[in-house]
């Protein structure tokens, strides 16, 4: 029988998964960035449905109240996601810098070419 906390966590992770998939379908979330999100929601859903694994996990790391282990796993994935985004932001800002530089140099070259005419 599902306990209250289990029902909530199943519904919660199911909702998260559906929202993610809907975003991907609509093109609001690119496939390559959605994978880590789908993995996060999927793992949360499996651990919510399958209490045995969660209990084992909780016992293994010494957590007395197994649903707390779910928070731990969820938190770990959230950290992973944020780190992932930080790497993406770093890459984007580097590429943005290179684009701005290229644009500025092209404009200067254009100006010079116009003057020469």
């Amino acid at each position: 029988m599902f306990s209250q906390v289990q029902t909530v966590s199943v519904l919660g992770s199911l909702a998260l998964l559906l929202v993610i998939l809907e975003f991907v379908r609509k093109g609001r979330l690119a496939e390559e960035f959605s994978l880590l999100w789908i993995l996060t929601a999927g793992v949360l859903l499996v651990l919510s449905l399958w209490r045995g694994v969660l209990d084992l996990l909780a016992a293994a790391v010494g957590i007395f109240y197994p649903p707390s282990a779910l928070f731990l796993v969820g938190f770990g994935f959230v950290l992973l996601l944020i780190l992932h985004f930080s790497t993406i932001v770093s890459r984007l800002s580097r590429e943005n810098r290179q684009l701005a530089q290229a644009l500025a140099l092209l404009r200067a070259e254009f100006e010079e070419a116009k003057e020469r005419k």
């Binding site: 810098r97 701005a100 530089q101 644009l103 500025a104 140099l105 404009r107 200067a108 010079e112």
Partner: protein, 239 residues
């Protein structure tokens, strides 16, 4: 040919320096009549670009403010693409004295790949604010430790680079507060970096782009970058 500045480009990074950039450009053209003077207008919202053009500089307008490192690199890309044999960095705020440029160029002729104008070598004419002075001393010590070569003024942006360094900087240049990192990068990649004594002026106008809190942030940022720069293989070192 050397005294006139032929084949030399003077790179002037400027962010909202309308009061001083014109004078810097004129002084640079006076010091090196044959040199090209290029102002790297880093997304200024004042009349920096106009003042620089009026003074006779070529202006590269960055569409947004990228920070001094990326602006400087834009200048090195400009210099690399046009085949200049040497590039001199002179800040747009007027603290560097263009008539001192020949001191830097002489160091290049004597075999240095990068010459850094230092505030503290034998002519102590420069009085800096306390926090800035602390930063200078701190990064001097860190870079000295990490390179094993004595450096006093690693934060100085008054520099001259030869052709090899121009090409290297066009590809690899640190961002934000790049001066100490650039020295470390070159030393690790096997270039010869030399400090030479130069006179400096107090800032002629405008405002420093670094406030106390940002200063602290940059001290940490640059320190981390220096340590990481030591731990990773320098880019392009294999050639």
């Amino acid at each position: 040919m050397n005294g006139s500045g032929e084949g030399i480009v003077v790179l002037v990074p400027a962010f909202n320096e309308e009061e001083t950039v014109g004078r810097v450009v004129r002084e640079a053209r006076e010091a090196l009549p044959e040199a090209a003077v290029v102002v790297l207008n880093d997304g200024s919202v004042d009349r920096t670009g106009e003042e620089a053009r009026r003074a006779g500089a070529r202006v590269v307008d960055l569409p947004v403010n990228l920070g001094i490192g990326a602006a400087m690199q834009t200048g090195y890309r400009y210099a690399a693409a046009r085949g200049f044999r040497a590039a001199v960095q002179v800040d747009g705020d007027g603290q560097h004295i263009p008539s001192e440029i020949p001191v830097l160029l002489r160091a290049l002729e004597e075999g240095a790949d990068l010459a850094v104008g230092s505030r503290f070598l034998d002519r102590p004419s420069y009085r800096a604010p306390a926090l800035r002075r602390l930063g200078i001393v701190f990064f001097g010590a860190v870079v000295t430790l990490l390179t094993g070569k004595r450096f006093r003024d690693t934060t100085s942006g008054f520099r001259a680079a030869n052709r090899r360094v121009i090409e290297y900087f066009a590809r690899h240049y640190p961002s934000d507060y790049p001066e100490p990192e650039a020295i470390l990068l070159l030393c690790r990649a096997g270039f010869r970096v030399r400090e030479v004594a130069a006179r400096f002026r107090e800032r002629g106008g405008g405002h420093s782009s670094i406030t106390a809190l940002r200063g602290l942030f940059y001290i940490f940022k640059v320190f981390l970058a220096l340590v990481m720069g030591t731990l990773r293989r320098p880019p392009g070192a294999e050639e």
